[in-house]
Structures are given as structure tokens and as C-alpha cells.
Amino acid sequence: MELTLSVLLLFMIIGAIYALFAEDLLSALISCGIVGYGLVICFLLLKAPDLAIVQIVVETLTLIIMVAVVLDSTRHDLREKVVIHEKGNSYINAKYVFNVLTVLVLALFFLFFFNQAIYKLEAFGEHTTRMATAYIEQGAEKTGSANLVTGIIFDFRGYDTLGEATILFTAVVGVLTILRLKGHK
């Protein structure tokens, strides 16, 4: 199980690296789809069918919107080069080097917390349910739903879902406001 997931994740990482270095924005988006749909297969392997269904819908929607945006504007990517050749003399691109150094510093910062977290967690596949034990034992009787995930979302944590609906509504209003054609001069 762990080996299958690792191979899939490696495939996704290769797709992600290609997406970041592709010259054409359309091919970058398609390799972004590799990562999104690889995630769907990972969810199916991890016994999360609800997540797989939602992720397939969301990934298809975002991919269609992003392809529409890119086809409507430009497909050309603005590449950053480490060494710039200009008017005969070449010099090092200081901004790019600074950005890469920032990434390295942040990577070390996150690595520290990842290290802290990974020793607190159980090994992969040996999880013990603490909070969810009550949900698993009484969820079916209390909510009447055979699917425990939907039972938790709409019943035990219904206020979370209400907040989620608020966020979705705010996002729709925001998109409509940003894309409005008429405006003040």
C-alpha cells in the first residue's frame, strides 16, 4: 500500500516540477491536471470515495476555468534566467537568486516543524481513532446516515458547513464584483 502511494506521489511530483518549468502555459496547466487527478487515485486507494468524487469535480472545474483564462490571454510564459545576457555583457539575476534563497530558508523552517510533527504521529497505517470513536460508534444511529463522512459534515459539524456555504457565497459575490464590466471612472 505504502509503495503504491509512493510511486503515485513520485509521479505527481514529477508532473508538478514539469508544470513549474514548462514554457507553454497550456502544457503547464495540463501537467497541473496530472497532480490533481493523481490525488483522486490516492484518495480512492486511501478509502475516501467522497473525497475522490468531490476532487474530480473540483479539478475538472478549475482546469476548465484556467484553460479558458489562458486561451483568452497569452500562452507565453515569462521565464526567469539565472544569468542575464544584455548588450554584450552578462550578469547574475540578483532577484531570482534572492527568491531561491528565500525558498531555501522557508524550506528549512518548514522542515523543522515537519520533523517535530512526524515524531508525534503514529506510523503510516497505524492510526488510532480518538475523537472519531464516538462518531463511528453512534454516528449511524444518531444521524441516520449510512455514510459517516456526510453524517459528520451535515450533522455533528453542521456549523462548519454553514461557514463553508458563507465562504462560497462570498467568493461568488467577489468574482461577480471583480468581473463586472461597468464601473466608476
Binding site: E2, S6, L9, M12, I13, A16, I17, A19, L20, L25, A28, C32, G36, L39, L46, K47, A48, L51, Q55, V58, L61, T62, M66, V69, V70, S73, T74, D77, L78, E80, N99, V100, V103, A107, F114, L121, F124, G125, H127, T129, A132, Y135, I136, E137, G139, A146, N147, L148, V149, I152, I153, R157, D160, T161, T170, A171, G174, V175, I178, L179
Partner: protein, 112 residues
């Protein structure tokens, strides 16, 4: 253990894309990679070896079910991720209409 490390590497790839690209579309792609790695990490934590999907069927031992709580949380997060991505993309469309470019260095003249 190795899946957690690979998940972290995917997060770092997204971070690299987020901080080093000049193109707004590439920045959105990097952000979505970071999102995906966090979703996968949370679901990986809740996995139990040999567990069934969290759907109650009579006759199946109730102890061998994967943790449904991280799955419920990630389901909420995926939908919110779609909303934020739609906002980002609409902002990108407006920026392209105004500046005729996706380059973030040309958006310095933004006023008001």
C-alpha cells in the same frame, strides 16, 4: 513514513513555484500544489491499514473503518480551495485586461 516525506516534497515544489515565478498563472498553480499536498497529508494521517471506507453496512466489523474525521475536514477544505482559486483567477483576468500581461513586475503602477 516515506509517503509523508514525499508529501512534504510536493509542498516544497509548490512553495518554489509560488515564490520564484513571475507569471500569475504559475503562482496559482504553485498554490494549488501546496493545497493538494496538505489535503493528501491529512487523509494519510487518518488511514488505517486494512480499514474499510467509512460507510456503515450491517455485518462489517465497526472497528476496521478508516478515520472519517480528517476526510470530513478535507472535504470542506477542497470546496473552499475552489472558491479561493476562482477569486484568484478572476483577479488574474482583470489584471490581464488592464496591463496586457501576466507579469507581476508590471503591476507596480496599481493605484487607488
Amino acid at each position: 513514513m516515506i509517503v509523508f516525506i514525499l508529501c512534504f516534497i510536493l509542498f516544497l515544489v509548490g512553495l518554489f513555484g509560488l515564490l520564484t515565478s513571475r507569471n500569475i498563472i504559475k503562482i496559482i498553480i504553485g498554490l494549488s500544489f501546496m493545497e493538494f499536498s496538505v489535503y493528501l497529508f491529512l487523509v494519510l494521517i487518518g488511514y488505517i491499514e486494512g480499514g474499510q471506507a467509512p460507510i456503515v453496512v450491517k455485518g462489517i466489523d465497526i472497528q476496521m473503518i478508516v478515520d472519517p474525521l480528517p476526510q470530513a475536514m478535507v472535504l470542506t477544505a477542497i470546496v473552499i480551495g475552489l472558491a479561493t482559486k476562482a477569486m484568484l483567477l478572476s483577479t488574474a483576468i482583470r489584471i490581464y485586461k488592464k496591463f496586457r500581461s501576466f507579469d507581476i513586475r508590471k503591476i507596480r503602477s496599481l493605484k487607488g
